[in-house]
Amino acid sequence: MNSAVEQSITILKHKDFKSDYKPVWCAGCGDFGVLNALTKAMAALELKPENLAMIAGIGCSSRIPAYTSAYGFHGVHGRALPLATGLTVSRPDLTVIATGGDGDGFSIGGNHFMHACRRNANLAYLVMDNSVYGMTKGQASPTTECDWTGSKLSPQGTGQPPLQPLEIALAAGAPFIARAFSNSPNELARIIAEAIEFKGFAFVQILSPCITFRPEQLGWKKRVHEGFEPTDDRAAAFAALAGDDGFTTGVLYRAPRPSYQPDRYESVDIETIQKRFEVHS
């Protein structure tokens, strides 16, 4: 545990990173814990709200940008990562954090997730995973258990094994992969801070219960346990996931490589470029 971060969390005012909007979330929603931990991490890192950009798609969880005092972009469903990529690539001076839910990130947004892992642009991606589509009133998401019959859209269950976000991230080449729990505030704040500080694409799956459509997730509290030890060996990380019950928290994998930044070099002016079209006669 990074004790410097831990310490500062208690010293700096994380309230300054919250906006005065009242969240639309249900009382007891796990996302409140994420908002708290996130603002704590921001405070701990001594960031300035105006240099922070929170980018999200659509979903209950994706409402989080407006609840912070940072710049925010609440885009369309599933496209948080392309928005964040365009922003971080063209404004490397900013701290860019993409957020959203399991539906937004792994269902409609799954392709961007896979390619963002490979691309390794400098941004943190925090997914509030509640194994359900909260916003649309409770359908199965990619991480929903195959036999969950709580949705009218899949009354017999999905019949499909839940997606393993950490395995996908690892297979797709993400250099920083972690899991945390919305109700473990200190660990969560620490991991978020680490993800933000990481230079490159840092993915955190945050287990964040949906009290309304998955009330049984209150039981996650008992099932979650710390356990991942950061490694930079992909094979070891795959092996760690082989024995994983889905509730192990911590940083699974951390293997820094240069982050993606397409070339830029202000070398010529437009007149010079235009000259190339001229006919030499």
Binding site: S69, R79, P82, R91, S267, E278
Partner: protein, 581 residues
């Protein structure tokens, strides 16, 4: 046809041959050489369905005056071979005044050529090629045609040297020797018409494709970020930007798909970088959700749609003007946006530059409707005019109390705070919202922001560039985009026959200023609407905004063959004939 060379100011020719014969290179060399000699010109490409190496045609028009469309017929057709040449029968129109050059060893002359009445000259390319070490038939053809149409040998030689610059002396020598064979062979042949009439002090001239021109227009306007996913026929814009953006301190990202590319642009633009992507129909279809977001969240972005035959995958390599509907209407909800169209290759620079300027000034998406006809043609043109349109976004730069991102200002344009500006923090959103950007489902807020977004487009002074208007007369030809040049030429022909005709080519398709357009149409006039779409999309669109003259005709047909001047002349003639009757 006689054997003493005529002088003409305008010459159309085509080179055809099967894959690997190099007719495209030959065509481009001729175009470049003609440009070096001081002519204007245009080259378009036609190919068969094979991915690579199928039959190909390079179609050229060279002239002493600016030309930006092909003629209706060919003066000269040179076939290196006849392999699958009949595929081009609809496109390469010959008549009794045409000259056809072919190798007698390459088999029978196709029926469409034989039946055209064109004069046939036999040149044994294959044999000639074997006479010089390393010679290529296509280069011999360049020499032959160059000489026949009266280009200076020195200009042709110089052009070939420049093109082969980095290929080594051996290749250059072989090429020059090939050219010489061509020159010599040409000397023995009748020259029906030679190019002439260029001014002795040639004006400056550019060699450029429409797609390169759009790229240039973009960076002229200030674009510094592009995210792109390849698609024919727009890829060359992306490639041009990939080469040039980094030189200008910008960057290009190759995205995983078009959903990503357009959203990356929105992300970059949110951060302050003027952003653009280029695509074609299928990719554009995938972008409409994000364009709606750009409207609602007031994020500037430019999309160049290089149109091709549709619907669906359609005819990827050929032109059509059938994306107008989706460009204007492709978004759920009331989502007005800018739609612009260049009307010539050079205008691809100007209109794209304007689009960037307008998108940034009005904080909204702009669609530029180019097409394959403009985008993939290469032309020798007069340098496009210098315009001072720049990306100048109205920004909120000071630390402000109570910052309202979507403040309902007089002109409807609200100062935008960029990340990094202290006190300007807000959350851009696709939800209906208040002036503060706070989400709202209230009718008052919804209406107010819809009004504001309409007003900013309606109240803006777009000036005179909304259309190119030319001439006057009782008949008006109304068109847009790439059909403008053939319309212009058709009108010139009719004018030379004494008819007074006005041309209106609309550059700014949306918002469409009904009053200004109605005024330009004048009253009591008859109207011919010209467009390259099956459904008459442009006609319907105009009709949805203004009352059209009682006598309005529509010349609308789909691709892949381009509408030529002759076709428009025929339509005008029909209207004038009817009037006379």
């Amino acid at each position: 046809m006689n054997d003493t060379p005529d002088t003409t100011t305008d010459l159309s020719l085509a080179l055809i041959g099967s894959g690997g014969a190099g007719v495209m290179t030959a065509g481009q060399t001729l175009l470049d050489a003609a440009a070096t000699s001081g002519y204007y010109g245009l080259m378009t490409r036609a190919t068969g369905p094979q991915i690579r190496g199928g039959e190909a045609a390079a179609i050229l028009r060279l002239s002493s005056r600016p030309v930006e469309c092909q003629d209706d017929r060919l003066d000269l057709l040179l076939a290196i071979d006849w392999n699958k040449a009949e595929r081009f029968a609809d496109e390469l129109i010959l008549d009794g005044d045409s000259l056809v050059i072919a190798d007698p060893g390459q088999g029978e002359v196709p029926a469409w050529v034989r039946d055209s009445g064109a004069h046939l000259l036999e040149v044994p390319f294959d044999r000639l090629t074997r006479e010089v070490r390393g010679a290529r038939a296509n280069t011999i053809a360049v020499g032959l045609v160059g000489r026949m149409i009266g280009l200076e040998e020195a200009d042709v030689d110089r052009t070939v040297r420049r093109i082969l610059e980095n290929k080594g002396a051996k290749l250059i020598d072989a090429a020059l020797a090939s050219l010489k064979v061509g020159y010599t062979t040409a000397g023995d042949l009748p020259h029906p018409s030679r190019l002439g009439g260029r001014s002795s002090r040639p004006e400056p001239r550019w060699l450029i494709t429409g797609n390169e021109a759009a790229g240039l227009g973009a960076v002229r306007g200030g674009v510094r970020f592009c995210a792109a996913y390849p698609i024919t026929p727009s890829t060359e814009i992306q490639e041009w930007l990939a080469a040039h953006l980094p030189e200008l301190g910008g960057s290009l990202v190759q995205a995983e798909d078009e959903l990503a590319s357009i959203n990356m642009c929105l992300g970059a633009s949110f951060g302050g970088a003027p952003s653009m992507t280029a695509t074609s129909g299928p990719g554009f279809s995938l972008m409409v959700e994000a364009l709606g977001l750009a409207t609602q969240a007031e994020i500037p972005v430019v999309v160049v749609d290089v149109m091709r035959g549709g619907p669906s995958t359609g005819i990827p390599t050929r032109s059509e003007q059938s994306d107008l509907n989706i460009a204007v209407h492709g978004a759920h909800g009331d989502a007005p946006r800018l739609v612009l169209a260049p009307n010539s290759i050079g205008d691809c620079v100007t209109t794209t530059q304007w689009a960037v300027h307008l998108a940034e000034a009005l904080q909204c998406p702009a669609v530029v409707l180019s097409d394959q006809r403009l985008g993939q043609a290469r032309a020798a043109i007069a340098p496009p005019p210098v315009r001072d349109w720049q990306a100048r976004r109205k920004l909120a730069t000071e630390v402000i109390d109570d910052y309202r991102r979507f403040a309902d200002t007089e002109d409807g344009i609200s100062p935008m705070a960029l990340p990094g500006t202290a006190g300007g923090q807000y959350t851009a959103t696709g939800l209906s919202h208040m002036e503060s950007a706070r989400p709202s489902a209230s009718g008052t807020d919804h209406q107010r922001q819809l009004d504001k977004r309409r007003h900013k487009l309606e109240r803006f002074d777009f000036g005179d560039d909304w259309a190119d208007i030319d001439g006057d007369g009782e008949l008006v030809v109304l068109t847009w985009g790439s059909t403008t040049q053939p319309a212009r030429e058709a009108i010139a022909r009719m004018r030379s026959r004494g008819h007074a005709i006005r041309l209106i080519s609309i550059r700014l398709l949306s918002p469409l200023d009904a009053d200004t357009l109605t005024e330009a149409l004048g009253s009591g006039r008859r109207l011919l609407v010209v467009e390259q779409s099956h459904g008459g999309q442009f006609h319907r669109y105009i009709r949805s905004h203004i009352e059209l003259p009682a006598d309005t005709r529509l010349l609308a047909r789909p691709g892949p063959l381009n509408i030529g001047p002759g076709e428009i002349v025929a339509a005008i003639e029909e209207m004038t004939r009817e009037e006379a009757a």
